[in-house]
């Protein structure tokens, strides 16, 4: 029987130059339900499909606020995500206390990147079994980052991770050009449409299984900008968005709607 001798720990390379434990951790990410993130010039959104283990159980949370300007979406082991989430929360609070500002998103992502990398180079440690999409706003605008168990981090315009996320990514690639100019509402709808691409045949978006997280820059009438705090929407709060991307409306949802949304850009809309 075939036995892999190079996957007992995360410090040994295989002769092909691979570190199997890290690759297995990346597989754990693919086990998690799909999450999508998109960033425009004014907003960064995260949308996620929540799973329930059985009919009787509750749905596992997928989106977590980190600080007022950052939130994450997770795919993989929720408990590992909680460790990272707590760490990020602490770092953001600490940064706010010492510098009195929102922690730059890249700085934050680099920190968890370095933290996760350590687990891939020390004997007896295990890589995090979770992938993250980090959405946040700082002084340089909205950002979206991908984080992988290997410690790899990368800034993205739009991305999806988790089970069947390839279909969502295909949708995102197709609409890539339009994201930058999108307003808040249109960006969320793009996210939900990408999410729908990844659904199994007989499943659909419901208020129970869909989560939406938004942050962005809000422009006041006098031209000054402020941060729209990262907020997670669940249940009835996402009903209108789900309705707006229902199958029958999909055909009509095109450029016209995008233009309408662009006009209301930066407006704070609480559904």
């Amino acid at each position: 029987m075939f036995r892999n001798n190079y996957d007992n720990d995360s410090v040994t390379f295989s002769p092909q130059g691979r570190i199997f434990q890290v690759e297995y951790a990346a597989e754990a990410v693919k086990q998690g339900s799909v999450v999508v993130g998109i960033a425009s010039k004014t907003h960064a959104v995260l949308v996620a499909i929540k799973r329930n283990a059985e009919e009787l159980s509750s749905y596992q949370k997928k989106l977590f606020p980190i600080d007022e300007h950052v939130g994450i979406a997770i795919a993989g082991l929720t408990s590992d995500a909680r460790v990272l989430s707590n760490f990020m929360k602490q770092q953001c609070l600490g940064h706010r206390l010492t510098y009195g500002r929102n922690m730059p998103v890249r700085t934050l992502v680099d920190m968890i990147g370095s933290k996760a990398q350590i687990n891939t180079q020390h004997y007896g440690k295990r890589p995090y079994g979770v992938g993250l999409l980090v959405a946040g706003v700082d002084e340089t605008g909205p950002h979206l980052f991908e984080f992988q168990p290997s410690g790899m981090t990368e800034e993205m315009v739009a991305f999806a991770i988790g089970a069947r996320s390839q279909m969502a990514r295909t949708y995102l690639e197709k609409n890539l050009e339009s994201f930058a100019a999108c307003g808040r509402e249109e960006l969320i709808r793009h996210g939900l449409r990408a999410l729908k691409e990844s659904l199994v045949q007989d499943r659909e978006l419901t208020v129970d299984n869909t989560s939406v997280g938004v942050t962005g820059t809000a422009t006041a009438k006098d031209g000054s900008t402020s941060v729209e705090p990262f907020q997670v929407f669940d249940q009835q709060d996402v009903a209108a968005w789900i309705e707006s991307v229902a199958d029958d409306k999909e055909a009509g949802a095109g450029e016209g709607e995008a233009a309408a949304a662009a006009e209301g850009e930066g407006m704070e809309v609480d559904p």
């Binding site: 206390l97 010492t98 510098y99 009195g100 500002r101 700085t107 340089t140 605008g141 000054s224």
Partner: protein, 271 residues
């Protein structure tokens, strides 16, 4: 023969005197600045319509001795802020090195040179308000460990909403802001003059750059007249949204010592 083994090989007290073993005590009381040694006198600063002007003379005194006459006590930070130091000069130089390091880290972390032209080169970097917060935490931590940095520091620049910022922090970590600030003797001599022109933020927002510079130069003259630990050579810095203009070779002009003749009441006088 001395039969105490611990005495063997030791120099005899009656020949060499008692042995001073104090240098062996590495775990003795920790040393900390208990008083400043080489000191700089006042730093003064005044806000105006689109920035802040700050000044300090170039003297470092050793008690009442004018010890070093070419010490620069204003330093720019990231070309967006200015920091002015009063108090101990060695502690100032320590902070100066520390700030240089911080600025380098910050410039690496937020390198916008390759990004699009709409983001300014300094976007996302620490502004004056962030820097002041950081310095106040540093000073407060040092006071908590009874090892203070013996300075009063003024920080000038802009805050996150791009309005002029001016604040102070001292060796105990006490912080405050005001349209005009002065440390040391300047609090008695320069502050009343500056407050006459800018009592409130609104008044300061009406001052032009030239007016503000003229007021600060006038204050430097008064300080040279009445502060015995001062010098007629000084540095002046003007922070605007365009950056920092620092001149370190200013000379007090149009002095008039005629008033000195009229002073009566100190020491021996013939008439």
């Amino acid at each position: 023969m001395d039969h105490r083994p611990q005495a063997w090989g030791r120099p005899r007290d009656d020949v060499y005197g008692a042995y001073d073993a104090s240098y062996l005590h590495t775990n003795g009381p920790k040393t900390a600045t208990q008083s400043p040694i080489v000191t700089g006198t006042s730093v003064i600063a005044l806000k105006f319509k689109d920035g802040v002007v700050m000044a300090a003379d170039n003297l470092a005194s050793y008690g009442s001795l004018a010890r070093f006459t070419d010490v620069k006590r204003l330093r720019p930070f990231l070309s967006t802020s200015v920091v002015g130091f009063g108090g101990d000069v060695s502690d100032m130089q320590f902070l100066d090195r520390h700030l240089t390091e911080l600025a380098i880290d910050e410039a690496y972390e937020h390198d916008n040179t390759s990004s699009s032209s709409e983001t300014p080169a300094t976007a996302g970097q620490l502004n004056a308000a962030n820097l002041h917060k950081y310095l106040s935490k540093l000073m407060y931590r040092r006071r908590n460990s009874f090892d203070p940095l013996w300075n009063q520091i003024l920080v000038a620049g802009f805050d996150s909403s791009s309005t002029p910022f001016l604040a102070s922090v001292d060796l105990r970590g006490t912080t405050f802001t005001s349209p005009s600030l002065a440390s040391g003797f300047g609090a008695m001599l320069a502050q009343p003059i500056m407050r006459r022109h800018a009592a409130t933020e609104e008044d300061a927002a009406k001052l032009t750059r030239d007016e503000a510079v003229a007021i600060v130069r006038e204050c430097m003259k008064v300080l040279f007249y009445r502060d015995a630990r001062s010098l007629d050579k000084y540095s002046i810095a003007v922070v605007t949204r365009d950056g920092v203009e620092l001149s370190e070779e200013e000379q007090l002009e149009k002095q008039s010592w005629a008033f000195a003749e009229r002073i009566r009441g100190y020491g021996t006088q013939t008439v």
